[in-house]
């Protein structure tokens, strides 16, 4: 079946990414937006756009009734959920199936299985795939958690059964911390996924995070597109990812690829997905979970394999068979991604919001920028603070790394706090250069962090500020406008409609 119209049930850079893939395929797009997102980039880029509700995610981007109503109204044949929000929600997939709207992702059965992290741990362990020691059922009361934690041995990691992205996750070092952590984790899980189930597993202090990109069609063909390493994390959320991993040789890569294929086949999973593993320094790996969605970091796989994952998702969802096999999948060169967040790395990565006063995007050979913002846009407080992703490809890791550094130096985002300067220091850190990346990298080598300010830089900043202030004050004295401000009705915010449409 050839799709003609797709509803993109997301916002920000990932909605933009999906819209681009649809455009390439000649598929028209329907954006949804909340009341604070009317001026967002994804709304501008889509062919049609409909408001689904107030800013709070539960009332808009997680509002299944409203989204399905938009799908009916716009006659969209399929819904692409992006990542986050409803991407891994089995209930939503089931409702799409009932209403004959194609959910671009796995079916509701597979989603329910892998979405329940506890159930998928049990299933994979039975299939002989190594898992991290921990609970094989959801925790109930605090006594249950205490007993389980005692048996696993502290420190333990509290995780939400229904989702990832660090939401609801807490490292618990001792019994005294358990009650408060469980309470907060449940609340965060409920807010993010609508399900407060949490469980405990053994906390591995400094593993590498290795994941395999998978594609599976509806006829049972499964391929992997090699690994990504995503060990650089803050708040259990990845911020720098790369492919390939320096820690895998061909033998281990093949072994892990086989295990990942077994996971997907055991779950009878279809569409794009990611099998996540943690790996210790001896090369032992443990199944962590299946991310049943397009990943934030999918571009590093796209740049090293040449496969467009969003287009593959659309092909598989519309019933096409994979048109290549495992032996056809090649990789070439090295790619690194840096996630640009609206946050303050000098203050616990506190989210920042506000207006982007100016944006300059990076460029150059091998540089890709997946971006959800523009000069003048508002970054609302209600959603995940990801702004964009810079991805650099090079013939080897060092070339990719230097291109990344150069791209980050070209990047300008003014008006809100971002992680651009922090990311430059990460990719310049000698341990990163050497490939010594483990999940404790930031705590060990980077934090606390401050933007370095040497004499040359300070002089340039002061000079720039002073010349600007001088120009401004002279303009004021001579009665000239400080900035030529053309006021057009389009800038007068809110409520402007043409002909009462």
């Amino acid at each position: 079946m050839k799709l003609k119209k797709v509803l993109v049930a997301n916002r920000g850079e990932i909605a933009v990414r999906v819209i681009r893939a649809c455009r390439e395929l000649g598929i028209s797009t329907v954006a949804i937006y909340s009341e604070v997102d009317r001026e967002s980039l994804h709304v501008q880029m889509a062919d049609e756009a409909l408001c689904v509700g107030p800013p709070a995610p539960l009332e808009s981007y997680l509002n299944m009734d409203a989204i399905l109503a938009v799908a009916r109204k716009s006659k969209a044949q399929a819904i692409h959920p992006g990542y986050g929000f409803l991407a891994e929600n089995a209930d939503f997939a089931r409702r799409c199936e009932k209403e004959n709207v194609i959910f671009i992702g796995p079916d509701s059965r597979a989603l329910a299985l892998v979405g329940d992290k506890v159930a998928s741990r049990v299933t994979m362990s039975r299939a002989g795939i190594p898992i991290i020691p921990g609970m094989k059922e959801k925790g109930s009361d605090i006594g249950h958690f205490l007993a389980e934690a005692e048996q696993i041995g502290y420190p333990v990691l509290l995780k939400a059964s229904a989702g990832g992205g660090g939401k609801g996750m807490r490292v618990i070092a001792c019994p005294e911390e358990l009650a408060q952590a469980v309470e907060a984790g449940k609340r965060e899980a409920k807010g993010a996924f609508g399900d407060e189930s949490v469980y405990l597993e053994k906390y591995l202090p400094a593993p590498r995070h290795i994941e395999f990109q998978m594609l599976a069609d509806k006829e049972g063909n499964v391929v992997h597109l090699f690994e990504r390493e995503c060990s650089i994390q803050r708040r259990h959320q990845k911020i720098v990812e790369e492919a390939p991993s320096v820690a895998l040789d061909d033998a281990l890569r093949a072994e892990m690829g086989e295990a990942a294929i077994a996971v997907i086949k055991t779950a009878r999973y279809t569409n794009a997905g990611t099998v996540e593993f943690l790996m210790d320094d001896e090369g032992h790996f443990y199944f962590l979970e299946v991310n049943a969605r397009l990943q934030v970091e999918h571009p590093v796989t796209e740049l090293t394999t040449g496969v467009d994952l969003v287009k593959q998702q659309i092909f598989i969802a519309s019933g096409r068979k994979l048109n290549f096999q495992q032996r056809d999948v090649n990789r070439f060169g090295h790619a690194i991604e840096c996630r640009i967040y609206a946050e303050d790395p000098t203050n616990g990565f506190m989210p920042s919001s506000g207006r982007v006063l100016f944006l300059r995007e990076p460029g150059g050979p091998g540089v890709r920028h997946d971006c959800g913002i523009y000069s003048g846009c508002q970054v609302p407080v209600h959603y995940d603070p990801i702004l964009s992703k810079v991805i650099a490809w090079g013939i080897d890791r060092e070339e990719a790394r230097r291109r990344m550094l150069s791209a980050l130096q070209e990047m300008v985002i003014l008006g809100i706090q971002t992680s651009v300067g922090f990311l430059q220091d990460i990719v310049s850190q000698p341990e990163f250069v050497a490939g010594n990346t483990r999940t404790d990298f930031l705590e060990k080598y980077m934090l606390p962090w401050k933007q370095e300010l040497d004499q040359d830089l300070l002089e340039a900043i002061l000079l720039g500020a002073a010349v600007d202030a001088q120009g401004k004050s002279r303009a004021q004295k001579e009665g000239l406008p400080v900035r030529e401000r053309k006021i057009s009705p389009w800038q007068m915010g809110g409520g402007w409609r043409i002909g009462g449409l």
């Binding site: 993010a192 980050l408 971002t418 002061l462 000079l463 500020a465 001088q470």
Partner: protein, 174 residues
């Protein structure tokens, strides 16, 4: 080109105040800062971009203004620069006099109060969690900066708060 009278500015960067004096002479800037004298050439490229030359060194300064702040980026390194206007002496004195004996723990960002962990009059220890504010789907714990007594609770769970809004007022406990 005519010579213009010099002007002085004070800017605060990362908590430190710097003084800069500028004078324009034949299209070039004579700059004094930190006891150093420099000559510079500054070309406005656009409203948000200034091309600077310090000797042969070419620098591109990106900047945007928002109230008393300037956001400045050079080589992808961003800074928030605040223009400091000198207060008349008596006002500065008044500000010192009214320095608070109590301090407020404020919300670091706009968000929603999820929980208040303390009660009025309670003694809290350093690093004790006072309240939880959620923004962008992440819970952020507001911790006590020191041992103190809770003087006042200024917000309730469910309240939407702005950056800088007091959540809990503390007074020093000796």
């Amino acid at each position: 080109m005519a010579k213009t009278a010099g002007r002085s500015f004070q800017f605060s960067i990362e908590g430190k105040v710097h003084r800069v004096s500028l004078a324009c002479e034949s299209g070039r800037w004579r700059v004094q800062m930190g006891g150093r004298q420099l000559e510079a050439d500054a070309w406005p490229i656009s409203d948000n971009c200034l091309s600077l030359k310090l000797g042969n060194r070419s620098l591109t300064v990106y900047l945007a203004r928002d109230r008393e702040f300037r956001y400045i980026s050079i080589d992808g390194k961003q800074f928030r620069v605040e223009e400091v206007r000198e207060l008349p002496k008596d006002q500065a004195f008044l500000q010192m006099q009214s320095a608070p004996a109590a301090s407020a723990v404020v919300s670091p960002m706009p968000g929603q109060v999820v929980k208040i962990h303390v009660l009025q009059g309670e003694i809290v220890e350093r690093s004790q969690t006072l309240a939880i504010v959620e923004a962008m789907k992440m819970e952020n714990e507001l911790k006590s900066p020191r041992r103190a007594r809770v003087r006042k609770i200024c917000a309730s769970p469910g309240d939407l708060v702005d950056a800088g809004q007091p959540i809990v007022e503390l007074e020093l406990e000796e």
